[in-house]
């Protein structure tokens, strides 16, 4: 029944575009994190949907035609930017036949402009360093401060597209900020005892997270971004972890656990499958729960590996 209603709604949107536009903004985001933040701002005045799933590697999403069905009716497309989606989003945008969301159009928003970006390479960039992002590390949403900045930016765009609800969006931003600063205090208190702890991560997904919560990332399971582990690098990593006494490894849910597990068994470290995105694990269905979940895992791991 719900599905049928949704379909009828879709049909109505098709038939009466201008009328429907005034009713409810249709937002599509590339990742679940942007969807979660947009939902915080938009409340019930918008509908928002993400293309990638939270447990999926956002670099390697397939450009399925079914996504075109979402994109062609979108009023706003939100992308992470910094070349994160370069392998799949540009062809989808081109094929969507939707002039509103083309880059440069009013309905296209690159969210990276609102966030603090780390690891921007200086000087010449070559792929000898692996799949580097020449514009900086795109995993910026994992810093709650960036979450606050993103929400502000998204609210600006939503208000521009739907001026009638401008006040409503601003109100929701204020409410979000209040809840976020409360949560931040809680998270900071939780993480305070572990400030400066050394960790190893699989991919360079966590610089913003590490910066905010005072973790020290000393090594990576990948020898270079996007290059799978090699025996010699794994050996180096084991030595490094023993030397630096690193006891915690953060692994994204879409990576193979074989190498991390074997490293862990030789170093006595703990492998944590932490989700870098909303929806990466069951129950992690909003931006707050994302940090709740990850920090809880971290806390337990740090406590058990003193």
């Amino acid at each position: 029944m719900m599905k049928r209603l949704a379909f009828l709604g879709l049909l109505a949107t098709l038939l009466l575009p201008s009328f429907a536009f005034a009713k409810k903004l249709n937002v599509v985001t590339s990742t679940t994190d942007l969807a979660a933040l947009t939902q915080e701002v938009g409340g019930d005045r918008i509908s928002v949907e993400s293309i990638a799933k939270g447990y999926q590697d956002p670099h390697f999403v397939e450009a399925k035609p079914s996504f075109l069905l979402k994109l062609r009716n979108a009023d706003l497309l939100l992308s992470v930017g910094l070349d994160l989606e370069i392998g799949w989003l540009p062809p989808l945008i081109t094929q969507s036949g939707n002039g509103r969301i083309q880059p440069g159009a009013n309905g296209y928003l690159d969210a990276s402009q609102f966030a603090e970006i780390l690891e921007i390479p200086q000087g010449k960039v070559t792929r000898a360093e692996g799949d580097v992002h020449p514009l900086g590390n795109p995993h910026y949403w994992l810093d709650p401060d960036n979450g606050r900045r993103l929400v502000k930016g998204i609210a600006g765009k939503l208000g521009e597209l739907d001026p009638a609800d401008f006040e409503y969006f601003q109100q929701r931003v204020a409410d979000f900020n209040k809840r976020l600063s409360d949560a931040e205090k809680r998270w900071e208190a939780e993480m305070a005892p572990y400030h400066g702890r050394k960790v190893v991560t699989y991919h360079r997904s966590w610089p913003n997270f590490a910066k905010h919560f005072g973790l020290d990332v000393v090594g990576y399971v990948e020898p270079r971004p996007g290059i799978p582990p090699t025996p010699s690098h794994t050996l180096d990593l084991i030595n490094l972890m023993k030397r630096e006494n690193v006891k915690v490894m953060l692994i994204e849910p879409y990576f193979d656990l074989r190498t991390p597990n074997s490293v862990a068994s030789q170093t006595g470290a703990k492998v944590l499958v932490m989700t870098p995105s909303v929806g990466g694990e069951k129950g992690v269905d909003d931006y707050f729960k994302l940090f709740d979940y990850d920090l809880n895992l971290l806390k337990q791991a740090f406590d058990s590996t003193k």
């Binding site: 098709l14 010449k124 900045r149 879409y254």
Partner: protein, 450 residues
């Protein structure tokens, strides 16, 4: 930049002030903290704006926001780094292009990529000769957004001797009614393999049916117009129609002897997600044009293509399977069966149709992050004499050192229905070959094939 500095000073001042008065009430320090946080946010916002300005100087100039007139020696963006390293070193005179500086001019450069395709062939094949080693193709891609309404894509393929415009077209992306239109030279939408560039094929060569009925490596690749639209369909089903009109010159399939000898291609694609990791892609295609015998001789092509893909999302980079198949029927009008040789026909012979059929089926399985194994079965009649049927089978192993290079080996067995030089059966010929290919990609990150 000056704004940046000013903000930094602003940021530092209250902080220093705060340190200087340690006895300030906790309320004050909280207020100061908030202020610092606000200032931090403003700096981040400014940094973001600077990044956006660098990336899209055209848009920013149009919007009237201040652009740094003289290029600043800060971190180059990707295109700059890739394309402009040579010029970056020397002293530069600011070039003014419509009010923007050199940095802006560089940022407006299109994305440039180059893909190299090296092939080595061993074994015996008396029918189709390929050199033992060749730099088969070097494909230069130049792509950019033209304006808010269109984008442009060029693919120039350099063989060892000549250059060929493989594709060069404009795509109108902002047309009303959800229509996407293209104009220029493009690979036509006939089936699947015909649309694919060499470097995204799951094999080193192209299927036998492509060679026999659809123009081989070049395929139906012609100058013309294309219109695509997503069609209304029940929920969960993706339906797309494509109609194309071409000049009528494509390899050995279509030949235009006069202006009215245009060719048409139509494609209907249906796609559905069976589950989040499995999907099915089906298509029917039709092409019609004039063949090399002249304006009064037509070739019709009908095709069905099917692709089944499996890729579990959580392990998307380690495991996948793609099964493909294409079935193609060719109706080639020519006088009196095999009596007609290319370029010359006995006058007065009544046209009749050579009805040829061919297909391939293939499967590719990814069993590790860098490893793919696959196989293909080929069978196809020849377009000019459907009595001759060629068969083939291949096994392929591919290794990807990184996303930007691949090494591939293929064992290929082909049983030719007759010697290529003769036009009548019998006389079967077997060929056993081992092919090796190295492909590598430079420059801008292209789209992943789907």
């Amino acid at each position: 930049m000056r704004k940046h500095l000013a903000l930094c000073v602003l940021l530092v001042t209250p902080a220093a002030f705060g340190q200087g008065t340690p006895n300030a009430a906790p309320n004050d320090s909280a207020a100061l903290e908030q202020k610092i946080r606000d200032l931090e946010d403003r700096i981040v916002a400014l940094e973001g704006q600077v990044r956006m300005l660098k990336a899209q100087p055209g848009a920013s100039a149009a919007a009237g926001t201040p652009v740094p007139a003289v290029p600043t020696p800060s971190s180059p963006t990707s295109t700059e780094a890739v394309a402009q390293t040579a010029t970056a070193a020397g002293p530069q005179e600011p070039v003014h292009l419509g009010g923007a500086g050199t940095a802006a001019a560089k940022a407006l450069n299109p994305d440039i990529s180059m893909i190299g395709d090296f092939i080595a062939t061993t074994g015996q094949n008396r029918e189709v000769s390929a050199p033992v080693m060749e730099m088969h193709e070097s494909e230069l891609g130049v792509q950019a957004i033209i304006d808010p309404y269109a984008r442009g894509d060029f693919f120039l393929s350099f063989g060892e001797e000549g250059v060929n415009l493989e594709e060069g077209y404009i795509t109108f992306t902002a047309l009303p009614g959800g229509i996407v239109a293209k104009a220029g030279k493009m690979r036509s939408a006939f089936g699947k393999v015909n649309t694919l560039h060499n470097h995204v094929l799951p094999w080193i060569d192209r299927p036998v049916v492509t060679g026999n009925l659809v123009g081989g490596e070049d395929g139906i690749d012609d100058a013309g117009f294309s219109v695509t639209r997503i069609l209304p369909a029940p929920k969960g089903l993706f339906l797309e129609g494509t109609a194309q009109l071409f000049r009528g010159d494509s390899a050995d399939v279509f030949k235009s002897s006069q202006r009215s000898d245009v060719s048409v291609v139509g494609h209907l694609r249906g796609y559905g997600d069976i589950s989040e990791s499995t999907n099915l892609d089906l298509g029917v295609s039709y092409a019609r044009g004039h063949n090399d015998l002249g304006s009064s001789f037509i070739t019709n092509l009908y095709g069905i293509d099917a692709t089944l893909r499996y890729k579990p999302l959580r392990r998307a980079i380690y495991k996948s399977f793609v099964g493909r198949g294409e079935f193609i029927w060719s109706q080639r009008q020519q006088p009196g069966g095999a009596a007609c040789l290319p370029g010359g026909c006995p006058l007065g012979t009544a046209p009749n149709f050579q009805r040829a059929f061919g297909f391939y089926t293939s499967g590719d399985y990814q069993f590790a992050r860098r490893w793919f194994v696959g196989g293909r079965f080929d069978r196809s009649d020849r377009a000019r004499d459907a009595r001759i049927t060629d068969n083939g089978a291949s096994v392929v192993l591919t290794y990807w050192p990184s996303e930007f290079a691949q090494v591939r080996g293929q064992y290929r067995f082909t049983r030719y229905g007759a010697s290529v030089s003769t036009l009548s059966p019998p006389g079967k010929e077997d060929a056993n070959e081992l092919l090796m290919q190295i492909q590598f990609s430079l420059g801008a990150h292209g789209a992943h094939p789907f």
